[in-house]
Symmetry: C2
DNA sequence: CCGCTCATGTAACTGGTTACATGATTTA
DNA sequence: TAAATCATGTAACCAGTTACATGAGCGG
């Protein structure tokens, strides 16, 4: 059987995200990559220096990124671009992340909290839920705004990503409303 | 001003989850705790030995758990129970996790993938989306089943947690349908 | 020139993973 | 009793965080 092209190493999610940013934004400095992540409202993407700089060095050693000194010859400033192997590995990750977690259940810390909500005095449980609803509403407004802004992009996928954030936030609000109802029902007893 | 009781150290999410399990299930061995996590379909909770055993030791050193040899004097078998300070810290975490991420945007790897979906040849993008829809439908069936099973629990919150999982899964399916439509629209051009 | 922010990095630490070792119990 | 599996643990590794160091450009 014709052996498929050996993929160097499956990239992690963060590595893939960096590859994706470089793929999309063309040559860019690590700092620009960091900014991209820090602007994201998803807390997963902190874009801390200690994560990004070693990561791009790693990716360059593995041949997925290539860098050269920026024309503006500031200190060590380097512009990174993606290599063909980098693109191949990015595609590989999109198709099948390591562990096959493509459709795994998303993690919601509020779910865990509600799971243990009986450990909280009733009144505190109540305020936790209503505070969270408030915060999520804020989130939803932001997400909707992101949706609107990306609605007319040349690429429809960034808009769909924003829409994912909005829909998830909205459904969590609705779910919290159910939790709230349950709390009130219990209070009534 | 009356200083609030000093909370030892804010616990992490995994620590809080372990405290929660011990709080709920009464005295139990580390192994039982692991089982609890491994049965969860959320990939976040792997319950690997290397995570749990050091963790309960840590919590005992910090005075949040207390252990004694099980009556069945097997090897080193220990039953852990939660202490009052453990309960206090668990409550503290439920109210306000470190970082105030109570209502932060949930992380969805499929969102990231779709964000970079243009990097994929059209046909592969299509099959990624339809495969994911299939997998999520499976997930949704499972989640609904969990919902049903927990519907008549004495504690309604485990049911609400299951419902969260179901709702999130369902909304992701709907969102993926939108992605699918978009792909077909583009194919038509 | 002083201080501020931009930008690139590094070092120490932390928490979780995989893989292994080993003792206890059950089952064939 | 031999093999399988349950149960407890540990060691090496790894990725990401916080905190720091440092240089470069710029505005007062």
């Amino acid at each position: 059987m014709a052996k498929k092209r050996k993929i160097s190493n499956p990239v992690t999610e963060l590595e893939a995200a960096v590859l994706g940013v470089v793929w999309r934004d063309g040559p860019c400095t690590p700092y620009a990559i960091r900014q991209h992540f820090r602007e994201s409202r998803a807390p997963r993407w902190s874009g801390s220096a200690g994560a990004i700089y070693p990561l791009v060095q790693r990716l360059e050693r593995r041949g997925l990124l290539r860098s050269k000194h920026s024309v503006r010859g500031k200190r060590g400033q380097r512009d990174y671009r993606i290599t063909p192997r980098g693109i191949a590995d990015l595609r590989e990750w999109i198709k099948a992340p390591p562990g096959g977690t493509n459709a795994a259940l998303v993690h919601d810390p509020l779910r865990t909290k509600v799971f243990f909500l009986e450990a909280l005095p009733r009144e505190e449980a109540r305020s936790l839920v209503s505070d969270s609803i408030g915060a999520l509403r804020q989130e939803a407004v932001q997400a909707k705004e992101d949706c609107r802004k990306s609605a007319n992009d040349k690429c429809p996928f960034s808009h769909l990503a924003a829409r994912n954030a909005f829909l998830l936030t909205r459904v969590r609000i609705r779910w919290l409303n159910e939790v709230q109802e349950e709390l009130e029902k219990r209070a009534a007893c």
